[in-house]
Amino acid sequence: MVREDDNGNQRQGISRRDFFGIVWKSLGILAAFEGLGMISAFMFSGKNKRTSAPKHLLEAGPVDSFGLNTVSAFMGGRFYLARRQDGGFIALSLRCTHLGCSISWEESKKRFICPCHSSAFDIGGEVLNPPAARALDYYPVLIEKGIVKVDISILKERNSFRKDQLVYAQ
């Protein structure tokens, strides 16, 4: 690089003033990134730790108290415990997979219906009617000594209903 100094002579390289200008600017950019990193670390590190819930088993009741092809609502645990015709249990989240409204069970038509955009789901949570594109999320079910328990700390997402998502009494 060729430049002119104060006396009008041609000199090679960059001047001391320009050099320090560049140094200050890069330090400024570096500091901005550091600040940004610090702020985002501050913002996000606390959040994830607080929301990871401990394992929380909710006792739903004895196996025999749930009839075949019925649905029982557990509003406190935010799930519907569904028992299919073959005796398999599944605990369905009551959140519609479209936009998160809470679904309700229509006994006469044996289906879940969402009030927001009329998505419908069958007793296993499979989509019957769009706009919802995924089957309902579900919580793991455990059956211990004839008592049905639901682990409401883990919400499982899925695209469609599969047989192995059902839990059977021994």
Binding site: F44, K47, R50, T51, M75, R78, L94, R95, H98, L99, G100, C101, S102, P115, C116, H117, S118, P130, P131, A133, L155
Partner: protein, 420 residues
């Protein structure tokens, strides 16, 4: 006090810039409403409790026990509504008088940014009462974010702080609403005003004759005072007559029917009923924003600026494009209600294609036909063509929003406003 206020103004303004219908005083009105929001917002903070357990009860307490509590809440609510409306009208005024070119390019972007932050302020404030209306509107809106490609779900989790709305969400929204966003609005608005002054005040017709310069005091200041007093009187009257909505306390187990997003997102929600979420929640809004930001940064041929709708031809084109956009949007909404959707006609094809790409292609074809058979024949100047596209977007947006607010009832089915 008086000299601070005068310092914000130039010492002299041209007689032309005092004509009311040149700007309708919209920018100034927005500034006044912002000040109003700061004052009433600080007052509300003395009683509001930002936690799911306490929020709703604190609003009820404010309503029933605090003198002027309901009134202050109403003023804050209605000023928020009017601020958004007036900022939107200001945005239209600036566009249609061509005040976004040359030295005003960058200020157009800051104006867009301010509009976005005002929307965000409204949105974060919407959750705070923690009633059924707030809870489900924010649930639906934040779930829309989940449909953004790649980063959607993590962005949603970041904003909500979990799978569903919780104490963290409320605290985050409260902090944005009452600290970060007001700070941003005030600083950016000051910069926005400064740039208007630096550009030589409001835009005047470049081909107009030179006009006499008048002292700001009293000519401009008194006009502002009158406009400001009328606006305040109007907001207070509305606040005295109509209460801000408040339903039962939020119940995560029972959603409202219908559940609607906040009114300014009703257009996006309406779009969501006709297109796959990837298009309606992401690609189309992003495309519109990119277009708006691009507007001042393209070259326009020399034309006298500062005239409403550019020219007589521009005005006629804008009118016919608006009519076309309204009819097309209405046709789309009605066919969505009465005809079976593509995802039902074509069950084997993924929803992304049947419910996304196909309707979008149909829309593009109709728009292309409108361009080829109508606009092209008018041999418009570039600015007039850009104006036509802008008019199309705005008209469609307004129809979608009004439909979402006033014509969607139970199960989000089409109905008349008196059944909503």
């Amino acid at each position: 006090m008086r000299s601070i206020f005068l310092h914000l103004h130039p010492s002299k303004v041209s007689e032309q810039s005092l004509i009311f219908h040149r700007t309708f005083g919209l920018g100034g009105m927005a500034a006044l409403l912002i000040a109003n929001q700061v004052i009433t917002g600080i007052l509300l903070r003395f009683y509001y409790v930002p936690s799911p357990a306490g929020a709703y009860d604190s609003v009820i307490f404010l309503k029933n026990q605090v003198v002027f509590g309901q009134f202050v809440r109403n003023i804050h609510y209605w000023s928020g509504v009017f601020l958004l409306l007036i900022a939107f009208l200001h945005f239209l005024r600036v566009f249609f008088t061509g005040a976004y070119r040359d030295v005003r390019k960058v200020n157009w972007l800051f104006g867009l940014l301010l509009l976005a932050i005002i929307v965000l302020s409204n949105f974060t404030g919407y959750l705070l009462p923690w009633d059924q209306l707030a809870y489900w509107a924010i649930t639906v809106s934040t779930n829309i974010i989940g449909y953004f490609p790649v980063f959607g779900n993590s962005l949603r989790t970041m904003i909500v702080g979990g799978k569903e709305l919780n104490a963290d969400t409320l605290q985050t929204f409260f902090n944005f609403h009452s600290a970060l966003l007001p700070f941003l609005i005030l600083t950016i608005a000051l910069y926005h005003f400064w740039r208007v002054r630096k550009a030589g005040g409001i835009l005047l017709p470049s081909d107009g004759e030179k006009q006499e310069m008048l002292p700001v005091m009293p000519h401009l200041v008194f006009r502002e005072l009158v406009a400001g007093l009328v606006l305040i009187a109007f907001v207070f009257t509305i606040a005295a007559l109509f209460n801000a909505p408040l339903l039962e306390k939020a119940n995560p187990a029972y959603s409202m029917n219908p559940t609607k997003a906040p009114w300014y997102f009703a257009g996006v929600q309406e779009l969501l009923m006709h297109f796959h979420p990837l298009f309606s929640a992401f690609i189309i809004p992003l495309g519109v924003l990119a277009f708006l930001a691009w507007i001042p940064f393209t070259r326009y041929e020399e034309a006298p600026s500062g005239h409403w709708f550019i020219s007589e031809k521009g005005k006629r084109t804008a009118r016919s494009t608006a009519i076309f956009a309204v009819l097309l949007t209405l046709a789309g909404i009605l066919s969505g209600a009465w005809l079976p959707g593509f995802e039902i006609l074509m069950p084997g094809i993924p929803a992304l294609i049947s419910n996304g790409i196909i309707p979008l292609c149909i829309l593009c074809l109709v728009m292309a036909a409108f361009y080829i058979f109508y606009l092209k024949g008018l041999s418009l100047a570039k600015a007039e063509l850009v104006q036509a596209i802008f008019v199309f977007i705005i008209a469609a947006f307004i129809v979608l929003t009004l439909t979402g607010i006033f014509f969607r009832g139970k199960d989000m089915a089409l109905t008349w406003p008196w059944y909503v």
